[in-house]
């Protein structure tokens, strides 16, 4: 990986969405969920739209109160994790798919971008499988009352 390396979402296996600045990713084969908060979501939206590592670091320093050196360390660390989890893959694109957002007049507070993993989401969803007609019996039926008789 170099500063010029570009990446894209591993679309064959991953669904991703940035909502209100925060990213949620789902590994469709394993059922694992991931999230990244505001700075993480910002980095994700840049990296996943094929901005190079250098361009991403530059955008982070333009948007947040952070020194370039620290931004570089944090972005590369996050990138390593995203690659390790196979959430992004290398791209041959020579430029980003979309332009980086314009630098704001005032920079925002910086926190280290982190990838939160929820490896047990599938297991937890299976804890209490839906059983229509069992736990889900309306009270009207339970009370043997009709709509009129309530």
């Amino acid at each position: 990986m170099t500063g010029m390396s570009r990446f894209m979402v591993n679309e064959a296996e991953v669904a991703a969405k940035v909502m209100d600045g925060e990213a949620i990713l789902i590994d469709l084969s394993s059922g694992k969920y991931y999230s990244m908060d505001l700075v993480g979501g910002f980095v994700w939206s840049l990296l996943s739209s094929q901005h190079s590592v250098e361009e991403t670091i530059a955008a982070v320093t333009a948007h947040y109160e952070v020194a370039e050196e620290r931004a570089a360390t944090d972005v590369k660390k996050l990138l390593d994790e995203l690659q390790k989890e196979k959430l992004i893959v290398a791209s041959n694109a020579e430029s980003a798919a979309v332009a980086a957002p314009a630098a704001p007049a005032e920079k925002s507070e910086y926190t280290e971008p982190k990838l939160y993993t929820y490896e047990d989401m599938g297991d937890l969803l299976a804890l209490d499988p839906p059983m229509p007609g069992l736990t889900e019996v309306p009270w009207e039926g339970a009370d043997n009352k009709t709509e009129e008789g309530k």
């Binding site: 669904a15 969405k17 909502m19 209100d20 925060e22 949620i24 789902i26 469709l28 969920y33 999230s35 939160y116 993993t117 929820y118 490896e119 047990d120 989401m121 297991d123 937890l124 969803l125 804890l127 209490d128 839906p130 059983m131 229509p132 007609g133 069992l134 736990t135 889900e136 019996v137 309306p138 009270w139 009207e140 339970a142 009370d143 043997n144």
Partner: protein, 378 residues
């Protein structure tokens, strides 16, 4: 002096109009604590019914969010809706405490929206969770680490939580389920004929097939024995087939689904209640209901059941998946009517003492107050 009510956001996978144990408990829990000066709203899912997003039941404001479709169907549109509505609800209601009843992973959305309005978080474990160590890369691990307090309804579940994340030992406790006294009084127990009762969702985890497999051994000694299985579920057809294969059709009766109110009547007509579960029951509400009606219980040694049924005092505990042991325990009780009647009475006393409603409510009120005081210190 005017006192500001403390606000509790009560979160449960399903609520009114559903009638599972947690849902029914919630509909009684909230009004009782409202009388003690707390203000509640309920955040829940729609379930499978077409229910309004906002609703009210007996004065309790209910907000239904699409958590289930968002997570189960990996539906990003619903995730956005759930997240934004939850943020708005938190910002408007400004809860002092979020009380999450853990039966599903919708707590994911709570952690995602903590910044909207920080509140103390109580996580009440309502079903068995994996007891293996829970890593920081898991929702369960993060939930147990981030919670301000964790309650379980049995010591077995508390041990599981502490095994999953050992530091929870400092902020976890057991608050046993409590039930109000049934409206009907127990009739004297009859063992002629021998009437066995099993109640619950007809799913493999409940082990009703083990109770059926015990019937030939029971019938060999007590031809008058009858087993009633009250409940409904996907396993029913399989069980009916098993009844035919075993040739015990005349001794087994399926009632189908019964209303919560009818449960006590059914228990009143039974000689004893069997709880043959093979999964880790977090508590064992049916066993408690049986004790309330002075019926001895034969239950398996899983999860919280051995805490609800005191072995040798209020019933007998047997190994799971063991029809012979189950049959022996049933026959032992049937052959010792005096001892069994004493067990039933002891169970009723123990239910009043250990699992009573007021105690349950008092302990939650104390927990709420304790967390509110710590919030003031923070």
């Amino acid at each position: 002096m005017f006192k500001i009510k403390k606000r509790i956001l009560y979160w449960t996978q399903l609520f009114y109009p559903y009638v599972g144990g947690v849902e029914v408990l919630g509909t009684r829990f909230i009004p009782t604590l409202e009388k003690r000066g707390f203000e509640f709203i309920v955040v829940t899912s729609h379930g499978s019914l077409d229910l309004p997003d906002e609703d009210e039941h007996n004065g309790i404001k209910i907000f239904r969010l699409p958590f289930q479709t968002a997570l189960r169907e990996k539906n990003f549109e619903d995730m956005i809706i759930a997240r934004r509505r939850l943020q708005q609800i938190k910002q408007t209601f400004k809860p002092d405490i979020v009380h999450f009843n853990f039966t599903d992973p919708s707590i994911f959305f709570h952690w995602q929206t903590q910044a909207a309005h920080p509140a103390k978080t109580i996580v009440s474990i309502r079903l068995a969770v994996p007891s293996a160590p829970a890593s920081e890369q898991s929702l369960l691990g993060q939930t147990f680490r981030n919670a301000d307090w964790i309650t379980t309804n049995s010591r077995a579940m508390l041990a599981d939580v502490r095994q999953a994340v050992p530091e929870t030992v400092d902020y976890s406790s057991t608050i046993y389920n409590g039930l109000e006294q049934p409206k009907i009084s127990p009739d004297p127990v009859s063992y002629q004929p021998l009437h066995l009762l099993a109640i619950g969702r007809v799913v493999p985890e409940k082990g009703f097939d083990v109770a059926l497999a015990a019937m030939p051994e029971i019938l060999a000694k007590r031809p008058d024995a009858r087993l009633t299985i009250a409940g409904d579920g996907p396993e029913k057809a399989q069980l009916e087939k098993q009844v035919e294969t075993l040739g015990v059709q005349s001794a087994v009766n399926f009632t189908g689904w019964v209303t919560p109110e009818k449960v006590y009547e059914l228990i009143n007509g039974a000689s004893l209640v069997v709880v043959p579960s093979r999964w880790r029951e977090a508590f064992g509400l049916v066993a408690l209901q049986a004790s309330q009606m002075a019926r001895p219980v034969v239950a398996t040694e899983v999860g919280g059941l051995p805490e609800v049924v005191a072995n040798g005092q209020t019933g007998l505990i047997v190994a799971k998946e063991n029809p012979t042991e189950l049959a022996k325990a049933v026959l032992h009780l049937a052959d010792s009517p005096e001892q069994s009647a004493k067990m039933g009475i002891a169970g009723r006393e123990r239910a009043k003492e250990m699992f009573n409603w007021d105690k349950h409510i008092d302990e939650y009120e104390q927990l709420y107050q304790r967390l509110l005081r710590s919030a003031e210190v923070d």
